[in-house]
């Protein structure tokens, strides 16, 4: 599957929560190819400052409309540049990059924390009509706009917030033991903060459920050329998050 670089016309770039925006790009070549777990590498400004592209997960792709969607949090200079663009602009994108999730298993459990839910959304769409159970965590109610977005695709949604303003107070990890004890999951997919994923991988091992993790790292090229994103593989080799990931089997890269 060839990677591409295209100027995607912005269909919309709307705020969906505090400091979170949803960007829809018309990029039919990418939309036609993208699979869940892959990402775009976005030139947020035609400028030397910011200089580098920004990796953003594909949250869905509409092959008929020719659009791809990303959901991003405005955290720094690059995402602020992106947030300033509007529907008359276009934005240069490389994609679809990286390896996606393996769509195995009949009883998937998805666990996402914060913006880690972005790639899981595309995944949930692809897993339909399998019965999907998802655990989503965030700091506070405002971060859980995800709930409505996953609603149609998932059978059961468990929400945790750090402050208890929505769902149960605590973190995703807190609700997991009970779920795993009672459920009959045959695949766990997870994306979120490193510590969260490490905890989940430990539990998955305990319950002997195969687990796929989606990693993040600082990236320059996005296509395996610079080695800025490599992580230690359990086989002693280095793994490039951009091309060998961002989705890995837990046993490849997690302790």
């Amino acid at each position: 599957m060839p990677k591409m670089v295209v100027d995607g016309r912005i269909v919309s770039n709307t705020e969906i929560s505090v400091n979170v925006k949803e960007l829809v790009l018309y990029a039919p070549e990418i939309a036609a190819q993208a699979v869940p777990g892959q990402f775009l590498h976005v030139r947020v400004a035609n400028s030397y400052h910011p200089l580098l592209r920004r990796p953003l997960s594909i949250s869905s792709a509409d092959n008929i409309a020719g659009t791809v969607r990303t959901i991003y949090r405005v955290v720094g200079q690059g995402t602020a540049c992106l947030a300033a663009l509007s529907s008359k602009d276009s934005v240069n994108c490389m994609g679809p990059l990286g390896n996606g999730f393996a769509i195995h298993g009949q009883r998937p459990l998805l666990v996402g924390g914060g913006m880690g839910l972005a790639p899981l959304m595309f995944l949930a769409g692809a897993l339909c009509p399998r019965p999907i159970e998802i655990v989503m965590g965030g700091r506070t109610k405002e971060e859980m706009f995800w709930k409505d977005m996953f609603h149609v695709m998932c059978n059961t949604i468990h929400v945790t917030t750090d402050d208890g303003t929505l769902g149960s107070r605590g973190v995703t990890l807190d609700v997991l033991p009970d779920l795993l004890k009672n459920g009959a999951f045959d695949m766990i997919y997870t994306c979120g903060p490193r510590v969260m994923m490490e905890g989940i991988v430990k539990l998955a091992k305990e319950y002997d459920i195969p687990c796929q993790v989606s990693l993040e790292d600082y990236m320059a090229c996005g296509i395996g050329g610079c080695l800025s994103c490599t992580c230690a593989g359990n086989d002693g080799s280095r793994k490039k998050v951009c091309t060998e990931g961002p989705v890995f089997w837990a046993q490849e890269v997690m302790p």
Binding site: H49, L51, L52, A220, G225, R238
Partner: protein, 312 residues
């Protein structure tokens, strides 16, 4: 003149020979920014570029530096990859054969901890399919007590001599800009037998995270590259061009054809595109295309008519 002739003329317009290496365009890739070339094949026709300079290769595999490896800076970036690479044997066994499918010179950038290691690397790479070696003499030198080979004329010379004794291939020496006197370094490596000089490697820099009170990079310091360094690189190319006879490969912040032309006017016979590959994965090709347009529009018949033509 047929269309075919026109095309071939246009291609001839850009062809150059650097240290005996025939290239279709004067635009190469800078080591460490283009993987082994194959990573870019969806974006660039490898058969059409000047040369691929592969990632810095060492005798044994290296896993590189820990922690965060890149940081963005104004119009530039810091990297501290730390020479992660599979080692020269793996390169020869599995990567070089795949590169053999392409009609493009492959130049291997090498780094050693000792003079002997450079020699050994050069000897092992003295094989068909390798068009030349580029000595990266800006990495820490264990034997000499941490002083980089690239900042001392005498040790730079001895590396070059050792390599020349161990290979028939053209030897390109890549100099570090972190020196008081780049001209002395260039003269020393020329004298020692360098067939060409690459200028510049990265400048040593540092960024600090003011929220965490920690260096941004896991390795504390890293190499600065990108448009920010271009004026320094152009100056060094110009200074060295006055002082040596061997060809210079200019690099440091080249993003556009205009940037590349600036280096050629300063005295570079060829150029390399580095950080720009991250911004535009087609950069090597678009820089070459832009040079061709410029040469044609300037009424020149060949790109080499630009080399060193800055009028002081």
């Amino acid at each position: 003149m047929s269309v075919e002739d026109g095309k071939s003329n246009q291609q001839e317009m850009l062809s150059v020979t650097i240290a005996g290496i025939k290239m279709k365009t004067p635009v190469m890739t800078a080591s460490g920014t283009f993987g082994f070339g194959l990573e870019y094949k969806d974006f660039v026709d490898l058969n059409k570029i000047g040369a691929v300079v592969v990632k810095g290769t060492t005798l044994l595999p290296r896993s590189g530096n820990k922690g965060r490896r890149i940081a963005e800076t104004p119009a530039g970036m810091l990297n501290s990859i730390g020479l992660e690479n599979p080692g020269v044997d793996e390169f020869l066994a599995t990567i070089l054969p795949r590169l053999g499918e392409y009609d493009v010179p492959i130049i291997v950038n090498i780094s050693g901890n000792t003079v002997e290691e450079y020699g050994e690397l050069a000897a092992r790479l003295n094989v068909a399919g390798v068009a030349g070696v580029e000595l990266n003499i800006s990495c820490p030198n264990v034997k000499e007590g941490g002083i980089a080979f690239g900042t001392n004329c005498a040790s730079a010379s001895s590396v070059v001599r050792q390599v020349k004794n161990n290979t028939n291939l053209p030897v390109i020496v890549k100099l570090s800009p972190n020196v008081t006197d780049i001209v002395a370094m260039a003269q020393a490596v020329e004298e020692a037998g360098a067939d060409a000089i690459s200028l510049i490697n990265t400048l040593l820099g540092m960024s600090i995270d003011i929220h965490k009170w920690r260096p941004v990079l896991g390795n504390v310091v890293g190499g600065l590259s990108g448009p920010a360094v271009k004026p320094i690189a152009v100056r060094m190319v110009w200074q060295v061009a006055q002082a040596v006879q061997v060809p210079i490969i200019g690099m440091g912040g080249i993003v556009t054809a205009e940037d590349a032309i600036e280096f050629m006017l300063a005295g570079a016979s060829a150029v390399a595109v580095g950080t720009a590959n991250f911004i535009n994965p087609c950069a090597v090709q678009s820089v070459a295309d832009g040079i061709k347009d410029y040469v044609r529009q300037s009424g020149l018949s060949h790109v080499k008519e630009l080399v060193g033509k800055v009028n002081i």
